[in-house]
Symmetry: C2
Subunit: 418 residues, 2 copies
């Protein structure tokens, strides 16, 4: 078994040298064929999925996870829809993102190029297999996919459909998209150490997967980490807007990484806006953990502990702190934030502008909801994930995050004297 | 001792929240004062340096290293000249590098921002202390510097001069530039593990330093790795140009990472151009390691071993291989190259264009020398290093490589329905 993963990665590397030179026309045509083939194979995919679902039920898997795993006609349509969205996106490969002509006549171009081999480790959702394959192909990369054992028959069935499309074409390598069918921990570890073959590994999943990758990977990674997101409501905020943005951030989908976890409120709003906003949130089922000044104006709040400022609840719970102003809000976010997404509600021009500049996070939202921290909402089509690191990519990651920028220097015989 | 490095990094992180918001005007003024202060302190710096040089001589350090360590008036002028060059460079912070307005009216901007805390570990050259301090400050980052013990008095003296400038100003934190004065291995290890404080660590030095960082660092790094650089001379090459570019790449400064190590020659040139070029190279003191086809036309070549294709000689030695054409050249580079810098000499338009596209390297040079793989030659002023990785930055790294791109989203009350 152990040789297989490295072998897959080696074949991916060989394929990548061909894929990087494919034209957008060819790549889009292959993607069209893949979407069509998935549509055609819908019944087979549901059959394979039924085996995974039955096994998961038998193993006592939670209803949430079983739901996430289940392939319906609607989800298959979502999968092919995502591929067709990716077809419509501009090809990042070959984009000239900068450059100059030097005094000696050398013309330097900074050009987007594929990374080479992109590996993705992911959990239950079977749509990731098709999404990632399509994103990698569009960006000129070979894809190595490693789903979880719970979805193994589904993932294999989808990978088989994609492989069939690739085999039918002479111009695209069969190894452009490969699934690691060995779902053991050893196989995953081998992938994390496939140095020299894998140019980027992206983990898509919960904290346990992320931490395993963080602690073990020796291949380059981009981490989609925690989302301890903040909203700061300034004294100058439009009150209705502030309520909308906090309610949307906390309640529209509490389990996702761009949901709000901490509300910071200017002290001038503590007497009036804050209690009304907390009443509204409570009415929507949100539990409040407040600091002392919050509890003075809204005694129903549970007392916030230090740990609350660090917690990504992913639930209908909100930590609330009254601050003296912008500076304290910025310092709080700098200390406790996870650099994912933060918002300000403010009508004061200088305050809004300074928050946008001073807060060090993947995305900063001014007078709008952190829930927009999302590849689709950013216009990237399907997202690879949301980076919480600073190098290479920040915030929602689209096709560009699967590329690097190479220097091409066009000369006319120049040589360097020293 | 052990607490000191973490404490320095913690202070750097605190300082970074102020430095990120400094205007270009203020940063440039501080840099001007630093350059002036170094000029004024020249005699003190040379005195401190004399202690390091004496200790190095006593310890039997090689003449090359002692030379590298020695501070002369010319080198001090070079140091202040570099700072003044950095003053003249555009400030990368705040550059809007992309963006769009979404159908719902959200305006998304991709904005360059400082990374936060940049640490650099470096070896003998004392100019690095001033260079890196200036690059970090200009790009809005706090700098943590860790030079080697051989230059400890010199580095401390330079750091003292810079600290004096910072202390005299109220608007820039004293901790903007800090030198780790503990030159023990333990202190270096502590820096490599300063997670949460250091946003980027760049090692500047030889393979042993690079490998220590690669193997141990848990903080984010950009690696300036080996330079096994290639020149491919195509059948269509202008012969004189080809000779110039190969000779320049091999002989102008053999010990640097952008020097050429392997020459790949189209078989059509094996009978005529190649032997003449090798005669020229031999006349300049270059030893040739040739493959079989090379030795057929130039029997004086030593037989190349497989290991020769992987070796960065950093010396007057050149590996030479005759290839059937572009494809074989590209495959050879893909297999043995270190993705630093590669060149082609070709008059054929399609061949030149395809090499530029197909070769996966930090920089690809068409009809010019790999010796131009250099921050100064790229117009970046002083370079941080030359990246041989793909993520974040490729090839020569300038000020931009010390920044990241944040998303700022300007709204007018938008909330997300799902």
């Amino acid at each position: 078994m152990s040789a297989t993963v490295t072998d897959i990665c080696r074949r991916a590397r060989a394929a990548s040298t061909v894929i990087r030179e494919l034209t957008t026309e060819v790549k889009d045509q292959v993607l069209r064929e893949m979407a069509d083939a998935i549509d055609t194979a819908a019944e087979d995919l549901k059959e394979a999925n039924a085996r995974d679902v039955a096994a998961a039920r038998e193993a006592g898997t939670s209803a949430t996870l079983v739901d996430r795993l289940t392939l319906t006609d609607k989800r298959i349509a979502g999968m092919t829809g995502a591929i067709r969205t990716i077809i419509d996106l501009p090809d990042p490969v070959g984009q000239v993102v900068g450059g100059r002509t030097r005094p000696n006549g050398l013309r330097i171009e900074h050009v987007r190029e594929p990374l080479g081999v992109v590996a993705v480790i992911y959990e239950a959702r079977p749509n990731v297999t098709a999404d990632v394959a399509a994103l990698c192909l569009k960006s000129g990369n070979a894809a190595v996919l490693r789903g979880s054992s719970i979805a193994q028959h589904t993932n294999a069935a989808i990978a088989d459909v994609l492989a069939e499309v690739l085999r039918a074409r002479d111009d695209v390598p069969d190894d452009a998209v490969q699934l690691i069918r060995d779902t053991s921990r050893e196989a995953a570890m081998e992938l994390l150490h496939a140095d020299g073959y894998v140019d980027l590994l992206v983990p898509r999943g919960g904290p346990s997967l992320i931490n395993t990758v963080k602690d073990n990977a020796t291949v380059p990674t981009v981490i989609d980490g925690d989302g301890n997101c903040h909203v700061y409501v300034d004294a100058s905020a439009d009150p209705a807007r502030a309520t909308d943005i906090v309610v949307n951030g906390k309640t529209s989908r509490p389990s996702v990484c761009n949901a709000v976890e901490t509300l910071l409120v200017h002290r001038d709003l503590a007497g009036d806006w804050l209690p009304k906003a907390l009443d509204t949130l409570q009415g929507l089922g949100v539990s409040i953990r407040g600091d002392e000044r919050t509890r003075e104006v809204w005694p129903a709040a549970k007392e916030a502990q230090d740990s609350d400022w660090e917690t990504e609840y992913l639930d209908l719970i909100l930590a609330v702190k009254v601050v003296d102003g912008l500076d304290e809000a910025v310092r709080h976010i700098d200390r406790y934030g996870t650099r994912n997404a933060e918002a300000i509600v403010a009508q004061d021009y200088d305050v809004a502008r300074r928050f946008a500049l001073a807060v060090d996070s993947g995305s900063v939202f001014v007078n709008t909801s952190t829930r927009y921290s999302d590849g689709g909402e950013f216009g990237y089509g399907v997202e690879i994930g949301v980076s919480t690191q600073k190098l290479h990519a920040r915030g929602p990651m689209g096709l560009e995050s699967l590329t690097c920028v190479k220097n091409v220097v066009w000369g006319s015989g120049q040589i360097r004297v020293i």
